[in-house]
Assembly symmetry: C2
Homo-oligomer: 408 residues x 2
Amino acid sequence: MVEIIDGGITTPQGFKAAGVHSGVKYRSLDMGMVYSEVPATAYCAFTSNNVKAAPVQVMMEENSPTLSAVVINSGNANALTGHRGIEDVYTMKQVAAAELELDPKQVGVMSTGLIGRFLDMHKIRYGISRAAKTLDVGREADGLICQAIMTTDTIKKECAVRVRLSDGTLVYVAGISKGSGMIEPHMKVLHGTTLTIITTDATLGPDFADTWQSILDDTVNMVSVDGDQSTNDTCILLANGMSNSKPADRDPEFAAALRTIMTHIARCIATDGEGASKLIEVDVNGAASKEDARKAVKAIINSPLVKTAIFGADPNYGRIMMAIGKSGCAFDINEVRLTIKGGDMEVPILDSGSPVFQDERAVEVVRMAMDNKEVTIVVDLGVGEESSTGWGCDLTYDYVRINAEYAS
Amino acid sequence: MVEIIDGGITTPQGFKAAGVHSGVKYRSLDMGMVYSEVPATAYCAFTSNNVKAAPVQVMMEENSPTLSAVVINSGNANALTGHRGIEDVYTMKQVAAAELELDPKQVGVMSTGLIGRFLDMHKIRYGISRAAKTLDVGREADGLICQAIMTTDTIKKECAVRVRLSDGTLVYVAGISKGSGMIEPHMKVLHGTTLTIITTDATLGPDFADTWQSILDDTVNMVSVDGDQSTNDTCILLANGMSNSKPADRDPEFAAALRTIMTHIARCIATDGEGASKLIEVDVNGAASKEDARKAVKAIINSPLVKTAIFGADPNYGRIMMAIGKSGCAFDINEVRLTIKGGDMEVPILDSGSPVFQDERAVEVVRMAMDNKEVTIVVDLGVGEESSTGWGCDLTYDYVRINAEYAS
């Protein structure tokens, strides 16, 4: 049984973390580091965007099966920076490796921030060195690294759970993440700008990739803030085995623990989407295939017309059906059911292709359901047994403000 | 040679038009009608959205080769209205046919407005009857129908040209359109809520479908305001042959005339996109295939991050490369060129994968280019000879305001 606890990235045994100010950003913390006392089995997933940031290119190329540390800088994505960008990543690895007495291959690198500018390596070197010297265990260190990796994020994204594996070992799994804009990750194992780091003291062997991809596909890969996929999205799972558990690659308890954390992170990213005032959850059921269910979820959460309608609590549910129609998924218009949930309310909207009501007062009920911090759209396509859930957010004045002035 | 003239939908010989107030909208004109003195060869194109409005379903089913009149109501899309919606379309056809002494099959129907509400047929009947009685020729009638088909549109979308066909006949081609939101049409011949009507006194035979699809694919199908595809998009081309020209199906002069009109309409729709303050044109060259060029154009004009950056004249051009990368098109990062044009300025941004400059003052030049009513993004993917052009608009505070309160 998975138990959510008050914890962070250093809660699993053997992990330390730091968050410092290197000077890339004017004032905020902008350099984070995670360190494991022993080399950890590393499962990495990277963006599918064909324009990949320099750190993503290097990490994919090295494909190191174990990592002992990960360096994360925010404020500059080191993307579209050509050969110099690649060299800068190797320098970051070397500086961290020297500070921590590691092989540079044992150091992972993640970057997030503005695209198309070279890193100021003077500041980056200073930041890495300072982070290495302040590595620590505990809730303060947990909090500092969460802050250091933020860009337009407004809330800390962390989660920790405790679970007893099938072999009886009690293990801890924790995750931190950042991500607010340019968010519709399509991360492939070994191969989001969501940056996510998961630490665990469970042991993992070489057989966890499929389960990991399936968890990613059901969680962070089903989040969309703006339909834009970053050049930098990266998710790293570090399993250092310090619990002395048996390999948990096929342990359903471990998968459940990781799924709990990744679902929490997915919801957090959507809740904290740039300018968001509401979390939107979309549950599509009755689909002919998993692929169709995902297509329908994505079409709804990415539609600017649906997103603005929910911002305004405007009961324009025809836009939801428009999105389903353009998604290309199979559905039976005579069987489609649509329900909107918000707060304690659950309002049926559509049954067999026609609206359930036409009465203006009934429309007010829909508006009341939509006037909540969390709005859930439930759709049954009426043609099969497959389902999918995804998360997004409303499109607000603040979204426009934040993104019209980002580079300035 | 195609000559743009001051004209409208009734400029080609034999066409009349009307725009009246039926009462579906509180005050604005909301019912339009186009009429041809003789049956006109009709080429229709409809939305590819799988949720199709009732008028689209009926028009696709009847697939009438000729039409004598088209009725257009605004304020209510007659979509998601089940069997009753279908019956209402047949009634609209019958009422118009009776007024105009036509076979109901000779009457086309288009609707635009709110989705999921039944038409008030009392008002619709009255509107059709009044429109039929006020059909007229001339610039006043041209203007009234343009107004009557608007929803959130703020500018009249019309264009007229004169062209001498290869057989020596001087013909006229005119077009009107509406469309501001839910705009990324994928219209298929015989099969966008853009509503467009083209009238011409040229003669067309049965062989124009391929040319028509190709013109649609290069013009209105390359417009995206919000990436959402309407349930109602319809485009009708009416050729009544009253110029007594030979069939112009394969006449390059006629195709050029139509292409001029459709390009004008495409740019108009993008310029008048909901809340838009700027027109964005995207020209992608050097693509491996036409399909790749279109994918890259669409990814750029649909990216909310690119759209907000242009709204704020924020020189965050990394977002343009992010969009290209996520589009899936082939490109050579060592050959990619990116230029931003605005006003008299043409600023090279990217050459061979690295930014042309890093200097903060140079960034100001990009900002100045972006600070224009029309911004053009020119990309060379560096891998082939194919190209595509598309049009979109910026994402502004007004877009959010308009769409958060639409149904209210």
